[in-house]
Symmetry: C2
């Protein structure tokens, strides 16, 4: 039989596998659930098990869903001539929540990072090339993050896209809406200036 502290320690240890959760937060979460919301603990356990069992990656775009083909790829209402490239399913969800995009997606599940051994194969570039070669895509929207690796990834994919005679665009980076110039960092201001458009 386990020692009195072991089940609790095991829970704290397990909660640390959540991104952004350190030892203090894990302890706070464990105590909160056990002292004040035990039904919550069971609800989270059920939701996690069900999701781990049933959620799969879309065979076309890598997005998460319950079917072989995700709801976006399967939808007849999406514009199939537009393909937006993102790094993660979270990025896809954020763009969807903006409501400003009606095309399809391709989720790289990462970004090029040769030092970490992440090359074109690891971010599913061969599958992306097949998708482009199938035809139908008229514009590829590169929405990788504005980090050095995200930029390199966008650049790399941009070349593949243009080599096929398809238009490649990059989403705009600049001062966030509601942001203030005074509190905007230098790199963002530089991007905002170089990306200026006629008013």
């Amino acid at each position: 039989m386990a020692d009195a502290r072991n089940v609790l320690d095991a829970l704290k240890e397990a909660l640390r596998r959540l991104p952004g959760v350190g030892p203090k937060s894990a302890q706070r979460m464990a105590f909160h659930l056990l002292s004040r919301d035990r039904e919550g603990a069971r609800a989270i356990a059920r939701a996690l098990t069900q999701a781990a069992d049933r959620i799969v990656h879309c065979k076309r775009c890598n997005n998460l869903g319950e079917e072989e083909l995700c709801a976006i790829c399967a939808s007849p209402r999406r514009d199939r001539s537009l393909l937006c490239i993102v790094e993660t399913p979270s990025d896809l969800a954020s763009l969807e929540q903006s409501g400003a995009y009606q095309g399809l997606y391709f989720v790289l599940m990462g970004r090029l990072s040769p030092l970490d051994g992440i090359g074109p194969e690891e971010i599913h570039i061969p599958r992306l090339e097949n998708l482009l070669d199938e035809g139908g895509v008229k514009e590829v929207v590169l929405a990788t993050n504005p980090t050095a690796e995200g930029e390199a990834t966008a650049h790399y994919i941009g070349e593949l896209v243009r080599a096929r005679g398809i238009k490649a665009t990059r989403i705009a980076y600049g001062v966030p809406v509601g942001g203030e110039l005074e509190y905007t960092d230098r790199s963002t201001l530089a991007r905002a200036l170089s990306g200026r458009r006629e008013a």
Copy 2:
């Protein structure tokens, strides 16, 4: 059969029951576990279920553990003449981690807050009084938080303790070790000054 987004949405919704987790963090956690650490999702689910099934409140001090009597209350090595009053099992764990206390505890599972309907009954004062009346406790260390409600709770319990001819002490509040006076707030500095001792 559930819609493609439902299992994922249910997971995000469930994760929001964790303290300090809003919609963005819940989404990030869900995507991280499903894209990169599915075994982590299952491990957390198992640990939560096991803890929810097996962890109980100690019948003497309210601390969390696997037995009727927690490891601290059951230990023959603890000083039974000292009783430390804390608001939550987290506070108890923090004090234990300091390694500076060898007595027993009593966890209130809250603090007095008449406006929220939390009176002496809700924080187990009758049980604490029985414990004091059993005899053996020579000093009660009041370690509630230095908030208005925590202070009121400490004051209230202090009266009960002294009425029984038992010594009541309050832990020291002041400038944190490693803290700087310049960045310490006024109330803390006031406490540090009023709590000054001969050097």
